[in-house]
Point group: C2
Chain length 247, copies 2
Amino acid sequence: MTANEIKNITALHIEKYRKEKRAFLVEGPKMLEETLKSDFKIKAIYAFPGWKTDLNLAGISVVKISAKELSRISQLKTPNQVVVEVAMKQHEEKLPSTDEKLILALDNINNPGNLGTIVRTADWFGIQNIICSQNCVDIYNPKVLQATMGSYTRVNMYYIDLPQYLRKESEKAEIYGAVVDGESLYNIDLQNKGIIVIGNESQGVSAEITPLIKRRITIPSYGGGAESLNASIAAAVILSEFRRRTF
Amino acid sequence: MTANEIKNITALHIEKYRKEKRAFLVEGPKMLEETLKSDFKIKAIYAFPGWKTDLNLAGISVVKISAKELSRISQLKTPNQVVVEVAMKQHEEKLPSTDEKLILALDNINNPGNLGTIVRTADWFGIQNIICSQNCVDIYNPKVLQATMGSYTRVNMYYIDLPQYLRKESEKAEIYGAVVDGESLYNIDLQNKGIIVIGNESQGVSAEITPLIKRRITIPSYGGGAESLNASIAAAVILSEFRRRTF
């Protein structure tokens, strides 16, 4: 690879260039497999010479690169054989309806691992749409993508003005939110449609969004001294309870 | 600080030296506060000159250090004002009884963030004891400690021969485990005592431990394509369901 080719790929480590080039990177055979199964389009595969695969790569450019080149374009501490350049999909203009489905809304989730884990967990519990406030971390951040374990291909992500969206939806939809002083998750009435808001890792739900939450959910704590749960853990425990009761 | 003093502190980034010196590091005001509230003994605090606190630090050595020194002894990308050197506690010889309590057993949890998050979640749900297989990541790994958000001070950790322990306990205790092909978490009979086994992030419960699990728990998936949940997410969803039903 030329220095310029490497530069063009590593530029995708940065959000600004991902948006410009409408492309992003995923790494490792598992992520490649998940991306191949999806309707995302693979632009190129950069692979270690010794790498072999049973996957059908017909029509895809596979560039063999050295271990040194791989470690330069990879963002993992231990690069995992292949780096895949994927085209972003056309942004869905139409927001999902809250009339029939449960939607997750994320208010300022900053940590890449948390966002990726939330996407993976949402996928597990059959949530197809996640609405993110504009200050959430980018879904195409490599750490986010790795933490989704491929679920990024199955969950639709929307980055919009979340307070405005919730104000509008609150006219017709139930809006649940995870707060520290609400009703017990285990007793509160839950339905199989509406919006569930999960707040920031340290500040919780923002001041602008808090008054829009109609059903304030708290996960009961049992005598420990822990002050809070990790945001992805809170999302998972709440989604599990919704699914247990409304399916 | 002298180069030697810095070397002595940064040595604690490495497990071998932590064990030798029976000490570890935590970072930031929140972790300091949690450690002060606990029965862990603080050996020294290394703080940025501008750092102020309302915490009672009577009898504790506070060393003022430069921003450059702080960034050298810190393991965070953005060092958070204070680094705290803490003495390890005497190892508890006696393992906790499964007659009265729920105990979490971790089989080869490798990811520091996962272990820390599991400890924080266990603390939230009132689990006081976690038994780790010897190949689990070290609780005193800085990334583990940060992810616990201070819960490391309240949860007892034991690193032992896990298969041997489970073989012995299985004579009298219920042994639950998270597997991919077990009974639904929502229907399986749960009690408020016994052992819950959570397996490795990619391999699940190890071959040696699998036959020791008496109650095989699976978290139902809802139509998505996700193949698995993150280990800390699985632990949280299972603990929540135990607490909901048995308290």
